[in-house]
Structures are given as C-alpha cells and as structure tokens.
C-alpha cells in the first residue's frame, strides 16, 4: 500500500479519486476497522472528492501482537495530525467514524489550521460533568465487558471475543447476524482491542465542544441506541457551527447500511 512515514511509523492509506480543485477528504475508521471500512462509500464520494482512507497505527494491514503502549487516542491523534501535515495538500476535510470520530474531534481541537470541515459519524467517547448532569466519573460502564472481550482474543478465542464486543455495542445476537465479510474485517483487527482496553481516554467537556470552530456535520443512525446518540447530541449542542444529519433505519455502521444516503449527506455538507 501507499504509506507516509509519520512519528516513526509507516501509516498506510488508500488514495482514490481526483482532487478537482477541492480539499481532499481524509477518512478515519473506528474500533476494529481499517481503511477498508469506507469501501462502500468510495464510489459516491469520489464522484466529487479525492478520498484518502487511512489505517491507524496497529490496524490492518499491520498485524499487531497487542504488546506495547503505542495504541492510544493520544498516539492516534498525533499520527493523524502528522499524516495531514505530511500530505502537504493544505487544509483537508476530515471525517471519522466512532472511535475515529473521537480522534478527528481531538485533531480539530488541537490543530484547526489543518482542517476545512469536519464530519463526525457517531463519535465515540464519554461526557464529563459539564455535558452530562449524571456524570459519575471513573471508567466506562462497558469497560468490564470490553476487557473480557480482549482477554478472550489474547487467549486465542478471536470470534468469542469479537462476539462479546459487538453484542455489547449493538445488542445481544448481533455478531451471528453480521455478514461474513464484515466479520472477517473485524477478525483482521481483533488484536487492537487488547490495546484499546488499556487506553484511558479523557471524556469530552463543554469547553472542548465550544472550541471546535470549523463547520461540523454530525451523522447519526436513527436506530442507534445507548451512549452514542447521547454523546452526539451533547457535542452537537455546543459545537457552534454544527448540524446533524439523521440516517433513517440505520444503526452505528450507518454508512455500510445506507451508503447512498450517507454519501448524499456528506456530499451536501462538503458542497454547502
């Protein structure tokens, strides 16, 4: 694959489409995914944009063994910043999904000069007391289940560990119903969960959200339940130049479930 050497790491990326005088759209995948997750929207998006889909450090095509402390939000944020700098194409549009949305949010906070517009598809994270009156602090209530998932994977039960992780996020019985090709892409990244449960990412605050100054599109699957919609609405209420698009009949992997609708809202936002 093509790659850029950033922070001592060859960061792979897929670069598709012509730039047509517009800013390129850099795409950051979420947990257990990699550059391939954007495959289903590449067609519509590259009708108008040059799309650059990265694989974060330790995700496929890398094969990580879970050893070391270089899997963290902080590391991945540093890597994305260095990647955009090294691209040297001027300010880019930046899109992130789930944990990738968290990373893009932090990039926007730290280096607004690198970005033109921001797209956050159900960004992952927690809310601190300034955004959530029910905030109690401490680790995520889901951490125990994610840790159990990572332990299974470390012990060699990859499918068992993935089932726990996916069912925790998307509801019991989700894993067996996933298309086989989706499952296989998760398997290719299973070991990253070992790093992820060690990562202690800080929650979002109201001041964080208010500091995001570029036009921002939040994208929500209409049927997503739990913490993700709560986080999205809290952030969207405080990011000054933001709007929210709803994808009907979709849950967290909304662009895989509704690639046409998803692409339409992204293209409209980037053109507006």
């Amino acid at each position: 694959m093509q790659s850029l050497h950033v922070n001592g790491y060859d960061m792979p990326y897929l670069d598709v489409g012509e730039d047509r005088g517009r800013a390129p759209l850099v795409c950051v995948h979420g947990s257990l995914n990699d550059f391939r997750v954007w495959g289903c929207v590449l067609g519509p998006l590259t009708q108008r944009h040059r799309v650059i889909a990265v694989s974060l450090r330790h995700f496929f095509p890398d094969r990580w063994d879970g050893v070391g402390d270089t899997y963290s939000i902080a590391q991945h944020v540093d890597d994305v910043i260095a990647f955009i700098e090294k691209l040297d194409l001027g300010p880019v549009d930046l899109m992130g999904h789930s944990r990738g949305g968290h990373i893009c949010f932090r990039v926007a906070q730290q280096r607004p000069d690198l970005l033109r517009r921001l797209v956050l598809a159900e960004p992952g994270g927690e809310l601190d007391a300034s955004l959530d009156p029910d905030y109690v602090g401490g680790p995520s209530p889901l951490l125990a289940r994610f840790t159990a998932s990572a332990e299974k994977i470390a012990a060699g039960d990859v499918d068992g560990g993935l089932a726990v992780f996916v069912d925790t996020l998307e509801g019991a019985g989700t894993w067996p119903r996933l298309p086989a090709m989706v499952k296989q892409n998760l398997r290719d990244n299973a070991y990253t969960l070992i790093g992820q449960v060690r990562d202690n990412r800080p929650p979002f605050s109201k001041a964080d959200a208010e500091s995001i100054k570029m036009p921002t599109l939040f994208i929500l699957g209409a049927r997503t339940k739990g913490l993700l919609p709560k986080v999205l609405h809290a952030l969207a209420a405080h990011v000054p130049y933001s709007k929210t698009a709803l994808i009907p009949n979709a849950t967290h992997p909304m662009f895989e479930q509704a690639p046409q609708k998803y692409s339409e809202v992204v293209l409209d936002f980037l053109a507006s």
């Binding site: 694959m1 093509q2 897929l14 670069d15 598709v16 489409g17 391939r36 495959g39 289903c40 929207v41 590449l42 067609g43 519509p44 590259t46 009708q47 496929f60 095509p61 094969r63 298309p179 086989a180 090709m181 989706v182 296989q184 892409n185 398997r187 290719d188 895989e256 479930q257 509704a258 690639p259 046409q260």
Partner: protein, 271 residues
C-alpha cells in the same frame, strides 16, 4: 491509488502484504475491492495485488468507446503482470476474472506459477460437451442482459442489478445482499454497457488441455446453473488441476465464507 501504465491506460491496483505476488482479478461489476474480505488472511503469506480492470472503479466510466472487450482485459492483465517482480506470479480470478485468468494462462504460461479460478465464467463449445448430454444452460448474464440493458438505459440502476444478481444466485439474492456489497456493484454499473458487446469466445477442449499451470478450481457448494457446470467441465481437461468446493456458499463464495476460501487458496499456493 497506485497504478501501472499498461496499453495506454493507468491500471489501478491495491497491494497488501509481503511474499510471493498473488495477482487478483475481479469479475463482472467488481473492482479491486472485490477481494476485501480475504485480504487479511491471504496477505499473511503473500503480496496480494488486487487490480481494477480498465473502466472499472476507481474510474467513473461513461461507457463511451469500444475498448471494453475480453481481449483488451486479457492484454491489460498480461501487460500488468509483466510489470510485477519477481515472476512468475500466482494469478487468481473470479467469474469473468476467472475467464481472463484462464486466457492469460493460455497465452502466457511463462508469466504464471499457479492459477486459481473461482467459478470462471464463459461458454463451452461443442468439444467440451458429452455427445449425448443436453446443451448447457447459458451464462446467467446472457439470460439477464436484455432486461439489464433496458433497465440501465431507463435509469433504473437497482433494477438492472437485481436482474443480474438474481440470475446468478437465485430470486431474492439481490434483496438479501448487504447494502455495502450492493453499492460496490452500483459503482461499476456502466461497465455492463460495455460488456454487452465484449466479444467473448467460448472455451474449447483443446484450450483446457493446453493449460499446464497448476490450477485450483473453486466452486460454491450451492451455486447452480452454468456457473456450477463450467468449472467442473474445465477441470476434467486441465491436466494439473484440483477442485475445492466451498460449502454453504454460492457464486460470491469468498464473501460468504472468507475463512474456508482462504484456507483452500493458501493450501494450494503452499503445496
């Protein structure tokens, strides 16, 4: 994307992993993304090079011009492989891409180490048919093509795709297909306008017998019709060949059973 300039065209490819090169050729309505579900396992031991044939995504083709031909894609694949070092390479093709890979093996056996044909598409000429056997059914796309073309020209892209997919995997197959897979077919819909006149020749017995490259045929255990038949007939006449059937899968067997598919391919390539 990375490209090689071959026969006047920038041919895009995705390259992942290290090891002996394995060139992968998608079929009708596919592109380099066709192989995404098997990239992980296959790239553990191989340098997997997944190409997009001329006029497939990432090109957004308008179907103007007459260079969407079987012969053109074969010539392009040959020219592409000539650029890959070290040779000879392993070559894998699915469906129409299997037809292309077969023709490459016929024309340039010197370029190939091993050949993997996953339900290759094509017609069988009389030399490959048993004397008293009923004629084989036509290729699914040949049956569906009139409706496919009418639908595309009328702007009903999903109608065209439903006709295509259901012809191959049975009624309801399009409706059951994951939305992400559907979208990748949509991205290549205009190639079908080229394919209607691609001038593909049938396979003959002499051609099958001429293949000397060690060959693995892969079939989906639940595939029916001509796509289930063609690889069985060819395998009888390709001297150094073996066949693996993937249980619980149809024509897109690597999407349905990626682990079993990779096990078959990796076992063959390592043997």
């Amino acid at each position: 994307m990375q490209t090689f300039h071959v026969n006047g065209y920038d041919m895009a490819y995705l390259e992942v992993g290290e090891g002996h090169p394995l060139i992968c050729v998608h079929g009708t309505l596919g592109d380099f993304r066709t192989w995404y579900s098997v990239l992980g396992p296959l790239s553990k031991n191989h340098r997997v090079i997944s190409v997009s044939l001329r006029h497939f995504f990432p090109e957004h083709w308008d179907a103007v011009g007459d260079d969407y031909k079987m012969a053109q894609h074969v010539a392009d694949t040959i020219a592409f492989i000539e650029r890959v070092q070290p040779g000879p390479v392993d070559l894998m093709g699915h469906s129409r891409g299997g037809h292309i890979a077969f023709r490459v093996a016929q024309a340039r056996p010197d370029l190939l180490r091993k050949l993997v044909l996953a339900e290759p598409g094509g017609d069988l000429d009389a030399s490959l048919l048993e004397p008293d056997a009923p004629p084989p059914p036509p290729m699914p796309l040949a049956v569906a093509m009139p409706l496919v073309l009418t639908s595309i020209r009328g702007g009903d892209i999903d109608g065209a795709l439903k006709a295509f997919v259901d012809a191959i995997d049975g009624d309801g197959a399009w409706a059951r297909m994951p939305a992400a897979a559907k979208q990748q077919l949509r991205d290549n819909i205009f190639t079908l306008l080229g394919q209607a006149n691609e001038n593909r020749k049938p396979f003959t017995k002499a051609q099958a017998e001429s293949i000397r490259t060690p060959t693995l045929f892969i079939g989906g255990g639940n595939t029916t019709g001509s796509l289930a038949m063609v690889h069985r007939v060819l395998a009888r006449h390709v001297a150094n060949s073996q066949t693996v059937m993937i249980d619980g899968a149809k024509h897109w067997m690597f999407d349905e059973q990626p682990q079993k598919y990779c096990q078959a391919v990796m076992g063959f390539l390592a043997s």
